[in-house]
Symmetry: C2
């Protein structure tokens, strides 16, 4: 099967103009089929504060009220997504930017929670893999903004890590999919302050042990849960590592490899 790279880029890289430009140059140079899923960065928070829209955080989670949804739709699906696509075009990488609503590519439903109202936050129901496949077969690279849509045409703010995972899984039956979570760290670290404490490989039993010993940084846990879930659903390889080392992540010479056995 042909290879497809599904690459998530974290918010900290998006906030850094130089790092983002360098990352996009590397992404454009990847030979073959590829999908980029981007998060939001601090731009939405900044715009909300400029507009006097108060950001509500409950249990460390941002609540997406109607005004916040408007802001993230503008920033994620508008500003960030179109600037990434334009930059890739300038590197002769033909790209298309999509939200989940476009081509009904990611359908979701509003998150239901017994005690917390997250507002306009979506949990994913399905990925339109045949539409993605059609674009990839035209050698068009796809850039996904973390905004999805429900059956009633309601846009919903959606976690970009989960989008990357679901897309990787959905394409697993057609392609040899490698899922790469790229961000500001070198990968999964034993000591979050020490970049040399990189764990090169991690399997489920090692993960369990590290979690029990509380040696995994809390922020990494959802990423790793996502990674193992992806592996169990037909994704061939998952790598977590530094956005600035994209080429090495792809060649397998950097980052943490998440493996099944």
């Amino acid at each position: 099967m042909e290879k497809v790279f599904v690459i998530k880029i974290g918010g900290n890289i998006i906030d850094d103009e130089k790092k983002l430009a360098s990352f996009l140059k590397d992404f454009a140079s990847i030979d073959g089929k590829k999908i980029l899923v981007h998060g939001g960065g601090k731009l939405a928070t900044k715009l909300a504060s400029q507009l006097g829209v108060e950001q509500q955080i409950i249990d460390g989670r941002r609540i997406t009220d109607a005004e916040t949804l408007k802001i993230v739709t503008m920033v994620y699906a508008g500003y960030i997504n179109k600037n990434i696509v334009a930059k890739l075009q300038s590197h002769h990488c033909n790209a298309i930017g999509l939200s989940g609503a476009d081509g009904n590519v990611i359908q979701s439903h509003k998150r239901m929670h017994p005690t917390i109202d997250y507002g306009f936050v979506g949990d994913i129901d399905s990925v339109n893999s045949s539409f993605l496949k059609n674009l990839l077969e035209q050698n068009i690279s796809i850039v996904i903004a973390p905004i999805t849509v429900d059956m009633n045409g309601q846009l919903l703010n959606t976690n970009a890590d989960t989008i990357a995972q679901e897309i990787a899984k959905a394409l697993g039956s057609f392609y040899d999919v490698e899922l790469i979570y790229s961000f500001e760290k070198s990968g999964v670290l034993l000591d979050v302050k020490d970049e040399t404490s990189l764990i090169k490989k991690i399997n489920p039993s090692a993960y369990k042990k590290l979690k029990e010993e509380k040696k995994i940084f809390e922020g990494m846990i959802p990423k790793l849960d996502n990674a193992f879930a992806a592996l169990q659903s037909g994704v061939r390889k998952v790598i977590i590592g530094k956005a600035e080392e994209l080429n090495q992540l792809i060649s397998g010479n950097s980052g943490t490899s998440i493996i099944n056995e």
Copy 2:
């Protein structure tokens, strides 16, 4: 040849939630291939004023400085475009929202003018008709935001009427294209305050005469110039009329028909 409708919707309709919802329901119900080109409306001006970004108007034209470009990219390609697509999806009309950067669908260059610096404003060089064709052949409706891109990855604010015209012309070799400019008026009016003074048909010689007699409302002149240019470049039919009467515009029972002879 198969028919394709290229429909431009004006800013006044976008600003009116009810009228927009009703228009999108009508658009979704059109049988066959269709493209919607939307303008901006007052939302961008409102956001600019909220953010304290001063809007410079020279000779009745808005100057697009860097901050304004950021705002129109967010509002046009983000908020308006994605909300239109989401609404169409809820009407079971599979749609995709594109800026000119996506799939390199509309390439432009920064406008050069001997005395006025318009800022980040684009004049169109080319339309990627084979990409549009591929989407239309999948029965996906296309929704275009008036933001284009130059060769260097610079996003540019671009007139939506002209985008509609250029797309209609580019598709003229593959399809039987009808170009519809829909807005808040019934069509081309002899008296702009009197909706019953509608001109049902207008050809180049009648247009010339009406212009000489100053009977054409100034704001209509660029639209009509666009319309005649489109007819001369392979577009079969151009109609100008009321957005609320989209079905009648399509069936030819409303609006002003622009004709060649």
